[in-house]
Point group: C2
DNA sequence: AATATATACTTCGTGATATGATGTATTATG
DNA sequence: CATAATACATCATATCACGAAGTATATATT
C-alpha cells in the first residue's frame, strides 16, 4: 500500500487492535498483518504517540520471564475511532471524485 | 480531515483534477475545495513532485497578461489513479476491521 | 551442544511531506 | 484608491514511517 495513504490509517488500526481487549506490541503487529504491515519501530513509535495523546494507557507485566507491555484503550482512543468513522464519508466522496469517469471527450 | 489521512489522498486528488482537462494551480484548488482543502504552498509542492515523478507535464501560457502554468496528466499519472483504485480494496478491508463491533464483552 | 528462529521491547538517523508565513505581481471590484 | 481575487514561488518547521541495530529470553532444529 502507498506509504502516504498508510499514514492516515495506522493510528486508528492500532487503536482498533486493542479496542476489544488489551494487547501488546508483538501481538498487535501479528493481528494487523492481515490488513496492514508495519515494522516494530513503527509500531512502538505509534504506541508512544498514542499514549502521549491520552488514547491509551500502558501496564507492564511479566510473562514467562519476558517483559510485556499491555496497552489499554481509553475513552479518547474510542473517540478517535468514532472520528475516523465520521471522516469516512469524506473519504468516500473523495474516492468517487477520483474515480468518476467524465464523458467530455 | 485528519492531516495524515489527507496525505495519502492529495496526490491522487490533484491528478484527478487534471484528468479530464488541463488545469492550473488556482483552479485546481477551487475545484478540489469541495472535497478536500489544500493551501497554495501544498499544491505547488505536490505539482512539482508529480512533475518530477513524470505524472504530469507543465506548459506555461499567458492569460490576460498573467502567467499561468497548465498541467497535463501523463500515462504514468493515469496509472497512478488506477493504482489507487486497486488499493481501495485494501482500504475497505481496513475500514471494516476498524469499525467492526466485537461481541466478546 | 550449538545454531537458528520466534518472541519482545528500544533507540537512532533519515527521508518524505503538509503547511503557515512571506513575497511578487496583475486584474477586478467597491 | 484601497481591497479582494487571481496566480505562482520559496523557506522553515513539525510530523512521521521505517530500516538498522541493539538487548534479552525461550523454543525448535541440526
Amino acid at each position: 500500500m502507498d506509504a502516504q495513504l498508510k499514514r492516515g490509517l495506522l493510528d486508528v488500526c492500532v487503536l482498533a487492535a486493542i479496542k476489544n481487549e488489551d494487547s501488546y506490541g508483538y501481538k498487535i503487529i501479528k493481528d494487523l498483518s492481515e490488513y496492514i504491515k508495519l515494522s516494530e519501530s513503527t509500531l512502538y513509535t505509534i504506541l508512544k504517540r498514542l499514549e502521549g495523546g491520552g488514547m491509551l494507557t500502558v501496564r507492564s507485566a511479566e510473562h514467562f520471564g519476558r517483559l510485556r507491555k499491555y496497552y489499554h484503550i481509553t475513552k479518547s482512543g474510542i473517540n478517535r475511532i468514532e472520528e475516523f468513522k465520521s471522516e469516512w464519508k469524506e473519504i468516500i466522496s473523495i474516492y468517487e471524485f477520483v474515480t468518476k469517469e467524465d464523458n467530455n471527450e
